[in-house]
Symmetry: C2
Subunit: 348 residues, 2 copies
């Protein structure tokens, strides 16, 4: 059986070494490798590039499967689509694969801003791209999308943060903390010095169960969406989908991403002034929360959208909650496509 | 220091032995003791009795402090108010105090319906009450309120379920499961054979953190309600309020209540037919969800209210989520009072 973090499971992708990456928190990754999947062709004036960053626990694979294709707004026949796996996700440089003294629990703290600077180097130095027609991502991908729009306002022409915020909320921080503690309080975790993910199975199960509660929605279960997805009961859904989804993942990888997720905050650019940070954005922005999202709720996203100059609030109606991002509700994805087509049609 | 489960902390209450209680799941409690707090005086025709059952982790004390008094609808100068602590809550017969072979992890499974039958015996045999002007309770107290109205439709004249459902949802079941597993997967729990709650401190902390995430709401933290309650940060709120609140509680007591909570379901009376069960209710019912409740959301409560003959949907607007039940939002309690006064003024 192929290893979980492999080309067989998540490929094809390219491994690109962007060199030494100095991190916001003071650490250094000497040879930072980014796993990058591309679709389509860069046009002559390099104006058709779209960047897609990835979310917590996800890879480039699900972004390709759910959001990219000839039937989608993100159409490779029109655009050059670059999907960059975030640092720590298991494909790019991560706790489980960096090796040496920085491996496992010694992996340096990486922030959303570090990912965005790494991606900027990748795009400018390796692809010669200096303008992005669109940055679009969900959840932690939305955090990176916002960071891109604030940090490189002249480069990002359009931005579409899905089911995520520019400044992580305290409630969201606490939710993520329960996920982390679910893992780290497993005695098998051994302060990150476990043998394999199997040693932390109890912790990963707790983590999966909390994702089940907060990741979908009350309506999802009331309307028996889990049955529509092929599971006879909520328990079968947990055992057959949620637990197996997370079980093969490396706990230290998840924790590196969780730490980063908790601290996503564009107002670090402006001494904590959220309005000033979001006011820097020059991109045209469609803010797209998912209507039943329990931890990036529309109300939090609306409060941010109001601070972004050229923006519109475009909530996606779905009962599938945050994990509607997985593409379980085809109608939600159709709404995303409709909005992205409209956004892409706006003059840069 | 007084023991947590004591008159000093939660009294005054009376311990009343209602005798042998045969349980729905097949177990038996030979000498079932109910901890009962009363306020006011029963009138001559015994028509002014109000019953208040208790919620998960709560006792009669908080119901008295938040909902009962001369300034509230539940006014002891008008009504005889009987607050009955649920079985397993630590004051009434519970895993930690039953002693003998049924103690701790061997405590028999108790259902909402068992509590309601026990309370019925208490009211009819010890107080000679055959008519209830009102049954009102929050959360698991709402589950008992619904069970009362369906099981004894002629006895219950009015019913006010706050922030709870008649039939527990699958989503709510899963949430409660994360609470249970947070506790039971602590190695110190030792299958329920721990020494004291301190041995299960890690599990109780996980349990408290999940309550923090789901018990309040995203808006609660966005609007800095935790600061208004006197805590400088969300972390301080967790450490200073949520963790200490649950820390002294007996884990087996909590698990007995959690098991019961998960299975609250009036449709057991009618072979699973929810509409038929709720259709039996003769009481006038005000269904009062809390607007930002993350696990008994208004949408679930509205679906049930539509099936109750003489009912009205009266959501309570608050940003404090489910734990607004604690009385943290005075305006929410004022709304409850307003509705209860209107309900109590309706002819029986």
């Amino acid at each position: 059986m192929a290893s979980y973090y492999s080309q067989e499971v998540h490929g094809p992708y390219h491994m690109i070494n962007i060199g030494r990456l100095e991190l916001a928190e003071g650490g250094v990754i000497e040879n930072c490798e980014l796993a990058v999947a591309t679709r389509g062709t860069l046009n002559a004036d390099k104006s058709n590039a779209i960047l897609i960053p990835t979310w917590y626990s996800g890879t480039s694979k699900i972004m390709e499967q759910v959001y990219v294709g000839p039937d989608h707004a993100l159409d490779p026949s029109k655009y050059f689509i670059v999907i960059v796996n975030q640092i720590g996700n298991g494909l790019s440089t991560s706790p489980h694969n960096i090796g040496g003294t920085l491996g496992g629990p010694n992996f340096p703290k990486v922030r959303i801003s570090d990912d965005v600077r790494a991606q900027h180097r990748l795009l400018t130095e390796f692809f010669g791209i200096t303008s992005l027609a669109l940055v679009v991502g969900g959840s932690m991908g939305a955090q990176q999308t916002y960071e891109w729009a604030v940090r490189y306002p002249d480069m990002v022409k359009r931005a579409a943060p899905l089911a995520g915020t520019a400044c992580n909320t305290e409630h969201d921080f606490l939710f993520t903390e329960t996920l982390e503690e679910g893992i780290t309080t497993d005695p098998g975790f051994r302060d990150g010095r476990y043998g394999t993910a199997v040693d932390v199975a109890v912790g990963l199960r707790r983590h999966a169960e909390m994702w089940t509660v907060m990741g979908w929605s009350t309506e999802f279960f009331r309307l028996n969406r889990h049955q529509a997805l092929g599971f006879a009961s909520a328990d079968a859904f947990v055992e057959g989908f949620m637990v197996p989804y997370f079980a093969p993942m490396d706990p230290n990888n998840l924790l590196a991403m969780a730490w980063k997720w908790q601290r996503g905050d564009v107002s670090l650019h402006t001494g904590g002034d959220k309005a000033a940070a979001l006011g820097r954005i020059k991109a045209k922005v469609f803010v797209m929360p998912f209507s039943t999202d329990m931890f990036f709720p529309p109300s939090d996203c609306l409060a941010e959208q109001a601070l972004i100059p050229n923006s519109a609030f475009r909530p996606i109606t779905t009962v599938d909650g945050h994990l509607g991002l997985f593409g379980t509700d085809a109608d939600a994805i159709a709404q995303v496509d409709l909005n992205l087509r409209e956004l892409l049609a706006l003059p840069a």
